[in-house]
């Protein structure tokens, strides 16, 4: 998608009427396009080139890139630094902000800084517990939860003030997002939780991995009944599984991921399990894309980032739309 007022990479787009951010992600969604986002794994390195290389594999296939914030409570390059590096190149970044490692003072400071550096989207998370990561002895912060952090950032943007009430001279113009997990109990509360996130300020939401279409359908039905799909852009999460063994491992070790037996069987029965994982992911997108209330898809291809291009291509969700990337418009 090409915008008339396309700026130089690294410079923000003008904010359109009815929009809150200067980013292309919000524009794509508000233009009614089916959006594709992907997750980038931050390197264990201080080398910016590693960050650029990791982003490049998505070129032409995604509208925005999530930079995770110590996901799984493992230590990596910070999301704010990843976002700053890539936003400078012109990428549309979704900065994940977890409440596990920083209190309200640090989060507000980071968001101001990120916005100053061209980050237009922030995704608020509570965060995985420290027990699941490589520093289980760390002190968990959890000064805020995802909900109070959303409403705090909304206050910074709309009321132009810190949580303390102190005024900002320029607010962070950010599109606010949240995560949702329709696949974890208590199931009948989950749509209500989404409603609460919308009330707190969420404008888009990305879900946990979907491997169970029926479960997502049930969730989306309730979400649509509650009219939430008109208040928030919903991008279900998907991702390729590398093998049946990997799937087993994820199922028993990664919090909140639900993988039905049928999926594991299908993987185990395939000759090329990796390819089958990619096929399952494409099938998921195909089943999701026409669901009422769905506005896009979020692809988490951890350690299989190269597969995102194939998945998007095969699913055909972009039609002939080519999302922006640094060399797209260079003839």
């Amino acid at each position: 998608m090409y915008f008339e007022d396309e700026p130089n990479p690294g410079e923000n787009l003008p904010i359109l009427p009815g929009h809150v951010s200067a980013g292309r992600f919000e524009r794509v969604l508000r233009a009614g396009q089916f959006a594709v986002t992907a997750e980038i794994a931050p390197p264990d390195s201080a080398d910016p080139q590693e960050v650029y290389d990791r982003a490049e594999v998505f070129d032409g296939y995604v509208d925005a890139i999530n930079a995770t914030d110590g996901s799984g409570a493992n230590c990596h390059m910070s999301s704010v630094a990843m976002c700053a590096l890539l936003a400078h190149k012109g990428y549309s970044m979704i900065m994940q902000v977890s409440c596990r490692d920083r209190n309200r003072i640090a989060i507000q400071g980071d968001v101001l800084g990120a916005s100053a550096m061209g980050v237009s989207n922030i995704l608020c998370l509570s965060g995985d517990g420290v027990q699941s990561g490589d520093h289980p002895e760390a002190k968990p912060v959890f000064d805020l939860d995802c909900m109070s952090s959303l409403s705090m950032l909304k206050g910074m943007r709309d009321q132009k003030q810190f949580l303390s009430g102190r005024k900002l001279t320029k607010p962070p113009e950010v599109f606010l997002g949240a995560a949702a997990n329709p696949f974890a109990p208590p199931f009948d509360y989950r749509p209500h939780r989404l409603a609460k996130k919308v009330a707190a300020g969420a404008q888009f939401v990305q879900t946990q991995y979907c491997f169970d279409i029926e479960m997502l359908e049930n969730y989306m039905k309730k979400v649509v009944d509650m009219g939430l799909h008109e208040k928030v852009f919903i991008l279900p999460g998907v991702g390729p599984l590398a093998s049946a063994r990997a799937a087993e491992w994820i199922r028993s070790n990664v919090a909140g991921v639900h993988i039905p037996d049928a999926i594991i069987k299908r993987l185990a029965g395939a000759e090329n399990q990796k390819q089958e994982g990619i096929n399952i992911c494409t099938d998921m997108i195909n089943a999701i894309k026409d669901m009422q209330g769905v506005h896009g898809v979020h692809i988490m291809a951890y350690r299989m980032e190269y597969a995102v291009a194939e998945i998007v291509e095969k699913s055909g969700v972009l039609g002939n739309r080519k999302p922006w990337y640094p060399t797209r418009d260079i003839a």
């Binding site: 995560a179 509360y189 909140g256």
Partner: protein
């Protein structure tokens, strides 16, 4: 007490009434409390509150009680101290992501909520960030004080 948590959620409705009853009784007694002075009352109040709420709800005495919005399940027992509903890590059997032997506080809270009448189901209201200075102080006294201040303000503006 952990063993009491489920019981309290099951009886959320009655306990919620009891709890609100204590608050409204205290509110009625506010002129007397004010005469004595809230500061002097803080210690004895906190002692009673800690024992009763500790026993019934495993209360962690955050000083900004939200039991009414959590089906009488104290959210401060959530290892992530989430005050606004279950995280995405709840196990398929309803146990906590961080402490696999404990029922997720919010699964219990949702059960408890369903035992309360819809208009009292404050679980749907966004709870603001916690004021960590209030930890270990009496939420009852704080409520009474706040209500009195609000009333005084309303009277003054009339």
């Amino acid at each position: 007490m952990y063993s009491m948590r489920r019981w309290s959620a099951k009886h959320a409705n009655k306990l919620h009434h009891l709890y609100s009853g204590v608050e409204s009784t205290l509110y009625k007694a506010a002129p007397l409390l004010e005469k004595i002075g809230y500061d002097k009352l803080e210690k004895p109040f906190m002692a009673v509150e800690k024992v009763t709420k500790g026993l019934l709800f495993d209360s962690q005495s955050c000083g900004q009680c939200t039991l009414g919005s959590t089906g009488m399940s104290c959210p401060m027992n959530c290892p992530k101290t989430i005050r606004n509903g279950p995280c995405g890590g709840v196990r398929p059997n309803g146990k906590c992501e961080v402490k696999p032997d404990m029922d997720c506080v919010w699964v219990v809270a949702w059960e408890g909520t369903q035992n309360m009448p819809p208009k009292e189901q404050a679980i749907h209201i966004v709870q603001p960030a916690l004021d960590s200075r209030k930890k270990g102080t009496s939420a009852w006294l704080r409520e009474v004080r706040l209500k009195r201040q609000e009333k005084a303000k309303a009277n003054a503006s009339q």
